[in-house]
C-alpha cells in the first residue's frame, strides 16, 4: 500500500520504537553471526560435553570481566604441556630403559589462588606401571614432593587438588591452595615462577607427555558451568533459537488464528459454532500442564513443543476478539456486492474480509514473540527443554539445579535472565509503538 | 470577542443582561465565525454569517453537505468540538448577549432552557437502558433542581403535546417505533420550555408517511406554543413545510436570506436558483437539473465569490468577494444585486 511507506517514515517519531529496533537488531545480528562462527552441529557437540571437550576449562568459573570490579588480578587458567613449554631430558640408562625428567614451568602472577590443579600424563607404553616421582618447586625455591611412586598408566589424570595425602603434608591446606600459599601469609599466593618436575625410568621406546592445568577462577566472556562448558556457547546459540522459536510460534499462531476466525465467521452455522466451542473449551485447559504432560510422555524436542504450543494457542481468546471484528466487517456492503458479482466463499474470506484488519496483525504478532520466548525458557527450567540444543532456558535450568544462588555463581543465572529480559523489552517496545501507529488508523483501512 | 476557546472566557464584570429590546428580533447573529483545526490546516466551517430571526417566525437553513449549516447550529448552541480554532461573532437572544456569558451561565440559562436542539438521528441514540420517560425528563433534573416528580409530570405534558400516549413514559427505547422515538426526542427538546428549537435533519431517517406525521406534529406544536424553529436540512422540499424564511448557505457563507414565498419560487442567488432547479417535484412536471463541479474546500477557500467557479452568471466583478446586499426584504451575497 502506498500509505505504508508514509507510515514507515513516521516511525522515526517514536523513540521507543527505535530503541526496541536497536535491541532486536543486535540480537538478530548475533543470531546471524553465531551459526557462521560456530556451526550448529559443532555447538551441539560442544554442549554435549563429551569427555575431554572441556577439560581445560575451570568448573563454575566466573566471566573474565569480573576482574574489572575487583582490585585483585584474578587467576586465569594456565596450561603447561611438554610440547610447548616443558623441558624434557632423556638419558638412557641401559637395559633398554631411559631416565626421563620433564619439567613444566610456569609463571603465576595472580592475586588469587587457582581453583583446581590437574596433571594429565600420557605414556605410549603398554605394560607394568612404572613408578614416577613428582615434585613441585614454588616461587620461593621450596621443593615439595607431590608423590614419590606414582604408577604410570597409559593415560592418567592426577587430581592434585584432591590428593588427601598431599593435603596432610601441607598442614591441612587444600593442595591448590597450599602449593601456592605464601609462607608469611597463607591467604595470599606467592607470585613467581613455579615448576613441576617428574622423573621416571621408562623403556627407551616409550614416550611420556604431561599437561599441567592450573585452573583459574575466571574464564571466558560468560564464565563456565558445572560441566566446564563455556557459557558463551549457550548464550550465543540461545539467541537464534529464542528468536526462531518466538517468531515461528507468534507468526503461526497469529496467522492461523486470523485465518480461522475469518473462515469461521464468514461460513457461519456449524463451522462457526464448532470453532467457538473448541475455543471455549481450550480456554479452560491450562497450557503449561498439557505441555508438561506431553513432554514427559512423548517428546521434548523443541520443534514438537513448538508445534504443540501453536496448536494450543490458535483457539484462544484472540480468536474470539477477531471473530467479533469479523462479525462486524462482514456486514459491509462491499462484501454483499462481491457476492452479487459472483465471488465465492474463499475469495471473500481471503481477499475481502482478511485485508480489512490486516494492519492489526503486525503489532499483535510482535507482542506475542516474547511470550513464546519466555515459554520456551519456562519449559526448559521445568526440565522439559530440548535435550540437546543449548538455550538460555537450559542454562537457567542448570543454574537452578546446581544451586547457583546458594553457591554465589550469580553470573550463571543473571546472564540468561538479562538476555531474556532484553528480548522481552525489545519486542515490547516495538510492539507497543506499532500498536500506536497502526491502531488509530484502523478506521482508514 | 472570544478569539480562541483555549483561553478562559472572561465574564463581563457585571453580569447584567442587556435590557430586552421590545419588539426586537428574537435571535440576532452577527459575523459568526467557527473555524476548526484539522491535521492539514484550518477549516472555516462558518465564515462571518449574519442573520436575524423575529419572534414566532421559523427559519430554514438550507445547503448541501459541508456548507456549514450544522456547524452554525452548533455555534449558536456553543456545542464546540475540541479542535475549535476560532469562535467569534456576536449573538443576541432577545437582546441578551450570548457570547459574553460564561460557560456555566450559558449552560444553565440558555442551552436547552431557551434554545434546544433535536439532533440528526438522535432517535437512534436514546439510552437503551433507561425508560423513555426518565430520559425525556432528564434535562430538567440536571440543573433546574426540579424534583423527579415534577420533572415526570412535565414529561407527561410534553408527551401530550407531541402526541405520544402517556403509557410510553414507562417503556424503553426499543419498544417504540421510529416515529414515536422521534417524537420522544422532540419532547425532550421541548421540556424546558425553550423559545427556539433547532431541528437538525429531524426526519431524514424516517419513512415518507412517518415524516409527514412528524411534520404535522411540529406544525401543530409551533402553533400551540408559539415556538420558533431553526430547521436545518438538505431536503429542500421538506423544509418548505415549516419555513417562514430561508437562509441558504454555501461553502460556509450565507448567500441568501429571503422569505419562503420568494425563496421557493424565485430565489435570487444563482446558487439558490440552481439548488431549487435540482429539486424534483412531484406535482409539477419539471425535469430536475444538476450543478456541475463541487463546492470549494473550506480549508483554503478561493478569493472572491466562492460560487463563481460554478456560476453561470459570473462576471469579472466576481473575482472580488461580494458583500451582502439588501434587495427588497431579502439579503443576497451577490454582485448581481449591487445596484440596490
Amino acid at each position: 500500500m502506498a500509505e505504508f511507506s508514509a507510515r514507515l517514515k513516521e516511525l522515526g517519531r517514536y523513540p521507543a520504537l527505535v530503541a526496541g529496533l536497536v535491541i532486536i537488531a543486535i540480537f538478530v545480528g548475533v543470531s546471524i553471526y553465531t551459526p557462521i562462527v560456530l556451526p550448529y552441529s559443532e555447538a551441539i557437540r560442544l554442549w554435549r560435553g563429551a569427555a575431554g571437550v572441556w577439560e581445560d576449562n575451570p568448573q563454575n568459573a566466573a566471566p573474565v570481566w569480573l576482574e574489572l570490579f575487583t582490585r585483585d588480578r584474578l587467576p586465569r587458567t594456565i596450561v603447561v604441556n611438554t610440547a610447548d613449554d616443558g623441558t624434557k631430558t632423556e638419558q638412557p640408562i641401559g637395559d633398554g630403559m631411559k631416565r626421563v625428567e620433564i619439567t613444566l614451568p610456569f609463571q603465576y602472577p595472580y592475586d588469587g589462588f587457582p581453583k583446581e590443579l590437574k596433571l594429565f600424563i600420557e605414556v605410549s607404553y603398554e605394560g607394568v606401571g612404572v613408578p614416577a616421582a613428582l615434585s613441585w618447586r614454588t616461587a620461593d625455591g621450596r621443593t615439595i614432593v607431590l608423590q614419590e611412586n606414582r604408577l604410570l598408566k597409559r593415560s592418567d589424570i592426577y587430581y592434585i587438588s584432591q590428593d588427601e595425602d598431599l593435603r596432610t603434608q601441607l598442614s591441612g591446606m587444600a593442595p591448590h591452595l597450599g602449593l601456592f600459599a605464601s609462607p608469611e601469609d597463607s591467604e595470599k599466593p606467592l607470585k613467581g615462577d613455579y615448576r613441576l618436575v617428574l622423573t621416571a625410568e621408562i623403556p627407551a621406546a616409550a614416550q611420556l607427555d604431561m599437561k599441567l592445568t592450573v585452573y583459574g577462577q575466571i574464564h571466558g566472556l560468560a564464565g563456565t558451568d558445572e560441566r566446564r562448558r563455556d557459557l558463551m556457547v549457550a548464550l550465543l546459540w540461545g539467541a537464534p533459537i529464542a528468536l526462531i522459536f518466538g517468531v515461528i510460534a507468534a507468526v503461526g499462531t497469529t496467522v492461523l488464528t486470523y485465518v480461522l476466525a475469518a473462515t469461521g465467521t464468514w461460513l457461519g452455522g456449524k463451522v462457526d459454532r464448532t470453532f467457538q466451542w473448541v475455543t471455549q473449551v481450550n480456554l479452560i485447559i491450562p497450557l503449561l500442564p498439557v505441555l508438561i504432560m506431553f513432554g514427559y510422555l512423548y517428546s521434548r524436542s523443541i520443534w514438537v513443543m513448538l508445534g504443540l504450543v501453536v496448536a494450543l494457542n490458535i483457539f484462544g481468546s484472540t480468536m474470539l476478539t477477531y471473530r467479533a471484528m469479523f462479525l462486524q466487517a462482514k456486514e459491509a456492503p462491499y462484501i454483499e456486492a462481491a457476492q452479487a458479482y459472483g465471488a465465492g466463499n474463499s475469495r471473500i474470506i481471503f481477499r475481502y474480509l482478511m485485508p480489512r484488519m490486516a494492519p492489526t496483525l503486525l503489532p499483535e504478532f510482535v507482542l506475542m514473540i516474547p511470550t513464546f520466548v519466555f515459554l520456551e525458557a519456562t519449559l526448559a527450567v521445568l526440565g522439559l527443554g530440548d535435550p540437546v540444543i543449548p538455550t538460555w532456558g537450559k542454562v537457567l535450568e542448570a543454574a537452578f539445579r546446581q544451586g547457583a544462588l546458594l553457591k554465589g555463581y550469580y553470573y550463571w543465572f543473571l546472564e540468561p535472565a538479562i538476555l531474556l529480559m532484553l528480548v522481552g523489552v525489545g519486542f515490547s517496545l516495538i510492539g507497543y509503538s506499532l500498536d500506536r501507529i497502526f491502531n488509530p488508523r484502523l478506521r482508514t483501512v | 470577542m472570544i478569539e480562541s476557546m483555549n483561553t478562559q472566557i472572561k465574564l463581563a464584570t457585571d453580569n447584567r443582561e442587556s435590557p430586552t429590546i421590545p419588539g426586537g428580533p428574537l435571535l440576532k447573529v452577527e459575523e459568526a465565525c467557527l473555524y476548526f483545526r484539522a491535521s492539514n490546516g484550518v477549516v472555516k466551517a462558518v465564515d462571518r454569517v449574519s442573520f436575524e430571526m423575529a419572534r414566532g417566525r421559523s427559519l430554514a437553513i438550507l445547503g448541501e453537505s459541508g456548507c456549514g449549516k450544522t456547524s452554525l447550529a452548533k455555534a449558536i448552541l456553543r456545542l464546540l468540538p475540541r479542535n475549535v480554532d476560532t469562535y467569534t461573532g456576536q449573538m443576541f437572544l432577545n437582546g441578551m448577549d450570548l457570547m459574553k456569558l460564561s460557560e456555566e451561565r450559558f449552560r444553565k440559562e440558555v442551552r436547552w432552557t431557551k434554545i434546544a436542539m433535536v439532533s440528526q438521528a438522535a432517535m437512534n441514540s436514546l439510552n437503551p437502558v433507561l425508560k423513555v420517560g426518565d430520559q425525556v425528563a432528564e434535562p430538567l433534573l440536571l440543573d433546574h433542581r426540579m424534583s423527579k416528580k415534577e420533572a415526570l409530570e412535565r414529561a407527561r405534558q410534553v408527551f401530550r403535546i407531541v402526541g405520544v400516549p402517556e403509557a410510553f413514559l414507562e417503556r424503553y427505547a426499543f419498544e417504540l417505533s421510529g416515529g414515536m422515538r422521534q417524537r420522544a426526542i422532540i419532547a425532550m427538546a421541548l421540556i424546558a420550555n425553550p423559545v427556539i428549537v433547532i431541528l437538525d435533519e429531524p426526519t431524514s431517517a424516517l419513512d415518507v408517511l412517518t415524516q409527514a406525521n412528524i411534520m404535522n406534529a411540529l406544525k401543530r406544536i409551533k402553533k400551540e406554543l408559539g415556538l420558533s424553529y431553526i430547521f436545518i436540512t438538505h431536503d429542500i422540499a421538506t423544509s418548505s413545510e415549516l419555513a417562514d424564511e430561508v437562509v441558504c448557505m454555501y461553502a460556509g457563507q450565507l448567500v441568501e436570506h429571503s422569505k419562503a414565498e420568494r425563496f421557493y419560487r424565485q430565489p435570487l442567488h444563482p446558487y439558490a436558483q440552481k439548488l431549487m432547479a435540482s429539486v424534483p417535484t412531484l406535482r409539477v412536471e419539471k425535469k430536475p437539473e444538476f450543478i456541475t463541479g463541487q463546492p470549494p474546500s473550506l480549508l483554503n477557500p478561493p478569493p472572491g465569490c466562492r460560487f463563481a467557479e460554478r456560476c453561470p452568471r459570473r462576471f469579472d466583478r466576481c473575482q472580488e468577494e461580494p458583500p451582502v446586499f439588501v434587495h427588497g426584504d431579502a439579503k443576497v451575497k451577490c454582485w448581481l444585486y449591487e445596484r440596490d
Binding site: V445 | V208, L275, P280, T281
Partner: protein, 325 residues
C-alpha cells in the same frame, strides 16, 4: 404480441424462518409474499416502498442473495428460483448491483483498478481484456481522465464519484439488468440528478433493464417508465409513472403521494392528511387486505376478511384493492 420479458417474477415468496432459542420454530417473517411483475428489455421500473415493505428482500431474491420460498423467477426465459449453482453463477454475471452506500460498497483497501478487476477475474474473463474493459467502463461513467483514477482509493473520491465507480463496477460484466437499491439517497441533492441521468444514459445506450428501489418517487419518476408500489410484502399497485402521479388508485399510493412534499411555501400553512398507524409486521400480517387497518375507504366485511386479487381498471394499470372490483 408480447415482447419476451427480460425478467418475469410470478407469485414470488421469500420467507425467513424464525427460530426461538436457536432451534424451535417460531413462525416466518414473510418478507415477500406473493409478488408478480414483469420487466421488458430496455425498460426501467421503480419499486417504491417504505422500510419494512419487503422491497430490499425482493431485490436480494432477484439477484440471488436470498433464497425464494416459493414462486418463479425467470430471467431471460431461464428459471433461476431453483438456485442451482450454475443458474446462480449465470445470473450473477448478467445482473449488476448498485447499492445505496457508495463508500461502503467499495472495498476501502482496493484501488479503483482492483475494484473493477475483481468481477472480471471471478468470472474468468481473459486477463488481456482487463485493461480495455476497465477503461471503457470508466469512460462511460465519466471518471476521466481514466489514468487519474485507476490508482486511487475510494476515500479519495467524492460521494458522486464513488457512486459512479459502483455503477462502473455493475456495468463491467456487460449485464442485461441493473438493480439499484436507493442509488442516490446518500448523495447530495444536486448530485442525485447527475447520477440518475448517468444511469439513464447508460440504460438507453445498452438497452438495459433497470430496477430502481426507492422511497423517493419524486426524483426517480424521470428515470423509469413504470412504478410498482409495495406495501407489507405485496405489490399493491403497478402502472406507468405518469399514471401513478396523476391518477393513483390504491389508497396507500394516494396517501404516499399526498405525503411527499414539493418545495412549496404554502406547505407551511397546511396540515397533511396522513393515515394513522404503522405498517404491519411481516410475521402476522392483518387478515384480508393488509392496508385495511389504516385505510380511510375501507369496505367493512370485505377488506378485513379477504385479500383482494389484482384488478386492472385501466389497461396496464394494476391494483390490489376491492374498490376496483
Amino acid at each position: 404480441m408480447e415482447d419476451k420479458a427480460l425478467l418475469s417474477v410470478r407469485e414470488l415468496r421469500t420467507w425467513f424462518e424464525l427460530k426461538r432459542w436457536g432451534f424451535l420454530h417460531a413462525g416466518f417473517v414473510r418478507a415477500v409474499d406473493g409478488v408478480s411483475f414483469q420487466l421488458k428489455p430496455g425498460e426501467a421500473i421503480t419499486i417504491v416502498g417504505e422500510s419494512g415493505s419487503g422491497k430490499t428482500t425482493l431485490l436480494r431474491t432477484i439477484i440471488g442473495l436470498a433464497r425464494p420460498t416459493g414462486g418463479e423467477i425467470l430471467f431471460d426465459g431461464r428459471r433461476i428460483d431453483g438456485r442451482k449453482p450454475e443458474d446462480v453463477a449465470w445470473l450473477r454475471s448478467h445482473v449488476g448491483f448498485v447499492q445505496q452506500d457508495p463508500y461502503g460498497a467499495l472495498a476501502p483497501f482496493m484501488t479503483v483498478r482492483r475494484i473493477l478487476q475483481e468481477p472480471l477475474a471471478i468470472n474468468k474473463v481473459e486477463p488481456s481484456e482487463y485493461e480495455d474493459r476497465i477503461r471503457v467502463v470508466l469512460e462511460e461513467v465519466r471518471l476521466i481522465p481514466v489514468e487519474d483514477f485507476l490508482n486511487k482509493f475510494p476515500h479519495m473520491l467524492s460521494g458522486g464519484q464513488q457512486q459512479r465507480l459502483v455503477i462502473a463496477r455493475a456495468m463491467i460484466l456487460r449485464p442485461r439488468l441493473i438493480v439499484a437499491d436507493e442509488p442516490v439517497s446518500m448523495l447530495d441533492a444536486s448530485v442525485r440528478v447527475e447520477i440518475l441521468e448517468l444511469m439513464r444514459r447508460i440504460q438507453q445506450a445498452h438497452n438495459l433493464g433497470v430496477i430502481y428501489i426507492t422511497h423517493d418517487l419524486s426524483s426517480v419518476r424521470y428515470f423509469s417508465e413504470r412504478v410498482c408500489i409495495m406495501y407489507a410484502a405485496r405489490m399493491v399497485e403497478k402502472t406507468d409513472v405518469r399514471e401513478v402521479v396523476q391518477k393513483p388508485l390504491h389508497p396507500y399510493t394516494q396517501a404516499l403521494l399526498n405525503a411527499i412534499p414539493d418545495p412549496d411555501p404554502d406547505n407551511a400553512a397546511r396540515f397533511k392528511d396522513t393515515p394513522a398507524g404503522e405498517p404491519p409486521n411481516l410475521i402476522n400480517p392483518p387478515k384480508g387486505c393488509r392496508f385495511h387497518p389504516r385505510c380511510a375507504r375501507i369496505i367493512r366485511g370485505l377488506c378485513d376478511q379477504e385479500e383482494p386479487p389484482e384488478f386492472e381498471p385501466t389497461p396496464g394499470h394494476f391494483v390490489e384493492c376491492w374498490l376496483y372490483k
